[in-house]
Amino acid sequence: MASLTFNHLNKQFGSVKAVDNLNFEVKNGEFICLLGPSGCGKSTALRMIAGFEEPSSGDILMDGKSIIALPPNKRPTAMVFQKYTLWPHMTVYKNIAFGLQLRGLEKKVVEDKVHSALDLVGLKGYEKRLPAQLSGGQQQRVAIARALVLEPQILLLDEPFSSLDAHLRVRLREELKSIQRSLGITTIFVTHDQEEALSLADRIAVMSSGQVEQYDSPDIIYAKPSSLFVAGFIGSMTLLEAENKGSELKLGNYTLPSSEIVKGKDVKVALRPEDILLADANGWAAKVSQVMNLGPFYSLVLAIEGLGSVKALFPKTSLLKEHDQINVLPNRYLIYHEDGVEEITL
């Protein structure tokens, strides 16, 4: 249980800047997700914390003390890898006990710890199995038990559930979250799945080509993505071209209120589907061009004359079908302009 600070951390592979000036802090006990597209440097950042990669420059501090001089086997971190990395020639018991035995603990103590770790991940009674005799989800749970049993200061997970099916992924996600909460262990979780990040993290660091684009709570990241990149990456968002006319925005034949903070002539308006509401005849005239059933909701694609396609989310009680003509208006939107982003609520 420790805090972690990245201090101008860089990693260069030849000409590739894998991690570019990482600068943020993880509080004691916090659950952080590093989120970003493939190749943006998430794994590299994580591997530098574990000690498998050496930073090109910058520092990593744990509780204020630099750890970059320590070799991986001396760092108080434990990692769960993306692929199953259980040692194939060792039983489940031995896999989990290995690290404890290295610490010279008594046999009885090791036994107790292994059993309670297996209990924690719901695999009691699997001690004698070999990794090859476990399902993918079970293997990944053993890998988590192997990391947790050492009571690390910091738990690192590199897309641990990405090779599992959606159902299992959601279940293990919930289990991990409750284990993390009960142990209060500082956790850094790498993922490229925004839904996973939103549901797990206390704070999300959204990364793009080696840099952190935004570091905020899931609520803020979802409600107010700081850049178009983050907006495009998190959740579903419709982006519309607009012209800035001072107090108003001109979108095709329609106008929307703006703010004097908005700079530049050409701006982008971003709309969350759930912020599109039915309106009276003064609203935007829309034709329902696609209806997708999401269980409790309909996810709609609306064709709006002069604006293009807009995504919307309506309750089933709206009883909309394809080709219906309706009127809609947003009650909340974001304006991405030269100097950043402005949120407008009507």
Binding site: K83, W87, P88, L102, R146, A147
Partner: protein, 272 residues
């Protein structure tokens, strides 16, 4: 059995199959028959007198009693020394990227693709100056040259096949580099390394060219002795019995290899 069924539809195939069978199995059967015969005169199809008389005689001969332990010892020493030299090298080839590692690996192949005899003669000239001709050390050294290919290529491929993240995971829980190698990496490659050790042992045991050139006249290994027994047309049974005896190591290798190498170890390997 699909093979046989397909064969049955193809008369030309059957002819070839039978010819191959006779060509390969025929001589082997005749060797076995000779080994257990006392008298076998033309034109009888089978030995006219059976017995183990020649087995007793063969293993009473002083030259054979001397050559067998000597050959076993040389093969043993060569295998051990080769392992000590080659296994760390193989690990380095697999894990450490350095300039020219590909070139080095290929050079081992080159020494094997090259007609051996030329190489041996040049070595023999050097050994003559160093007084290594007709010594155990000389034979061991020449045999070592032969073993490099198997002892480096197979383990290198095997080490490369070990997922690096298995090692990282062990480092991560606090194991030292040495322990990681000993308890994580090595167990993964044991099948492949055992195969390499066996190939080396058997290969050394049977090797004749180098053994003749460097070993004679003082050092006479089993296959060399057998060659001279056969060439002297002494008694057919001696040759047959020695052949059977010399088959034992390769038989062990074959059985062992089937069990160990049937898996992915070799197949996964050769992506050097």
């Amino acid at each position: 059995m699909t093979f046989l069924r397909r064969l049955a539809k193809d008369p030309f195939g059957i002819v070839i199959f039978i010819a191959l069978f006779l060509f390969i199995i025929g001589p082997m059967i005749s060797v076995v028959l000779w080994a257990f015969s006392i008298q076998w005169r033309y034109p009888s199809l089978l030995p006219t007198e059976w017995g183990l008389k020649f087995w007793a005689q063969t293993f009473k001969r002083a030259d054979i009693l001397q050559a067998l332990p000597l050959t076993l010892m040389i093969s043993f020493i060569v295998t051990i020394v080769s392992a000590i030299i080659c296994l760390p090298a193989a690990y380095a080839f697999a894990r450490i990227k350095f300039r020219g590692s590909q070139f080095f690996l290929l050079s081992f192949l080159a020494t094997n693709a090259f007609p051996r005899f030329g190489l041996y003669i040049t070595i023999a000239v050097i050994f003559l100056k160093l007084n290594l001709i007709s010594t155990i050390l000389g034979v061991v050294l020449i045999q070592l040259v032969n073993t490099l290919l198997f002892m480096i290529w197979i383990p290198t491929a095997a080490f490369k096949g070990v997922d690096k993240s298995l090692e990282e995971a062990a480092l991560d829980v606090g194991a030292s580099r040495f322990r990681v190698f000993w308890q994580i990496t090595l167990p993964q490659v044991i099948p492949a390394i055992s195969a390499a050790l066996l190939l080396t042992f058997v290969g050394t045991f049977y090797e004749t060219q180098g053994a003749i050139l460097i070993g004679l006249p003082g050092i006479r290994t089993m296959p060399v002795l057998m060659l001279s027994l056969i060439n002297n047309q002494l008694v057919v049974q001696y040759g047959a019995i020695l052949s059977l005896t010399l088959w034992i190591p390769s038989l062990i290798l074959l059985l062992f290899a089937r069990r160990v190498l049937s898996g992915k170890t070799l197949a996964a390997g050769f992506g050097v």
